[in-house]
Amino acid sequence: MRKEEYIKILFRNKLSVIGLSIILLLVFVAIFAPFLAPYPEQAKGEPNLKERLQPPSWKHPFGTDHMGRDIFSRVIYGARTSLLIGFSVVSIALVIGLFLGLIAGYFGGKFDLLIMRITDIFLAFPPLLLALLIASTLGRGLMNAILALAISWWPWYTRLVRGMAISVKNRPYVEAAKAMGVADWKIMIRHILPNSVSPLIVQATMDIGSAILEAAALSFLGLGVQPPTPDWGLMISEGKNYFLNYWWYPVFPGLAIFVTVIAFNLLGDAIREVIDPRLRRRFL
């Protein structure tokens, strides 16, 4: 009965269905990229200088770039990079955020003080700036980009989780667990954690889109992903010089980012709809 309810709520909103569909399409594309891309070798970087900077045509639906590579294929492969970054960044930040947030919220006192002060220091930086700083320190490359973004992201989750943990720890069922003699760490995992994650799930879903966007910014600035890896941000960066005469170069990767971020936001909204009514009791 419950699962049927969730599905009903999820599909109630047209926009959420659109968001969900786009993301499923994206995942599909990312997984089956080698089969969907007409020119997989070019996507991975092999140059094709004979066909440089050609406008969109039947042969090359999105045109070609300055190395003659098929942009359509590169955009498809770019989905892999983007989704990888998005999910990795958010996952790492979630793990760190949950860990620190639970400890700070549940134990309070000195732990709370220490963790929140560190969190505040990180939060004082403009997020992109912090990511830039870390990325430039760590060096270029995909892994460093992911690390840099994750490090600038975890403080937000810590704060969210801490807030929820504080309100949950005073609930009677937590006290009942204590009255049974259950150890603190077990209480945190079994009782506090599952009841603190709802706002986090919504936020994290939307953040996947934002992470992709920020990773694109990093690539655009030369940090993060390096050529010839197919990455939307990198493609925009390379394409910006050609924008005036060869508009298709940066536009299609740009559209890809745009659509992806919107899709994740819509999905986040949809999930919020599902989570909220579920917390409400059934109508008598």
């Binding site: 309810e5 009903k8 709520i9 009514p277 109508f283 008598l284």
Partner: protein
Amino acid sequence: MNDLLKIENLYINFRTLWGVAKVLNGINLTIKEGEIFGLVGETGCGKSVTASTILRLLPSNAEVSGKVLFKGENLLEKSEEEMRKIRGKEISIIFQDPMTSLNPLFKIRDQMVDVITLHNNLSKEEAEKRAKDLLEKVGLPDPERVLNSYPHELSGGMRQRVMIAMALSSNPSLLIADEPTTALDVTIQKQILKLILELKETYGFSVLFITHDLGVVAELCDRVGVMYAGNIVEIAPTEELFENPLHPYTQGLLSVVPDPRYKKKLKPLRGSVPSLLNPPTGCRFHPRCDYAGDLCKKEKPELIEYSPDHFVACHLYGGNSE
């Protein structure tokens, strides 16, 4: 005494995500001028929905049919603008939790003056004077201090008195009180009940007092209506109801109310309140009734006058359409 409020065959359905909830199943009741009418029932019986219907404050997914006659006019047929003139002026309401009925961001002064000037043509100074006057009448000894306070600075009992003052500021004919003392301590509750009674004697308004507490009903109300799962099952003057309960549900209810005067043997009703999405056929009480017969499963009993001024909706006492 004339009829002030007459509800005729009121049916209300709510369209929800899980189906249609048949919240009110054709209720009939009358409130006379100057009387305190108690509406008793447990969770989900529909007593609060009845109050919302009188004020036409139902959510958009509600389907309504029937009549709500106030001073002879059907409130369900009035326009929103006409209703706004009635709400707060002719019919006022006080709720259970005064903390959420009062805006925590504004001082009492602002909120009271707001309400008073809305329904009366008074200047701000005159409204303030009226507010002070009302606060004194509801038993608050230092009106100036109360006016200067924010809601959270006052105790529960004081907030409820402020609510009563605001509700009475335009001399309503009907005061609806929806569980006004449920959240208060018992000694404070007594003060508020006494206050309501005194104000009623002085100003002559009627009260629709909604509660689940039969003790409060016994102390305060002139007549009582008992509700179960969207139906009115019995209406009678208070003494008559307690002495001579006719409906099996009323009997069951009276036998499970604990009495501090002695250790009463509680004989609980079996089963539990039904879901309104899928209520029992015929008489909604039949699954829990020891006297249920075949007719009870098929036909809903009508509310009939079994003895003078004592109404009951049960096939044991007639109540068929014959």
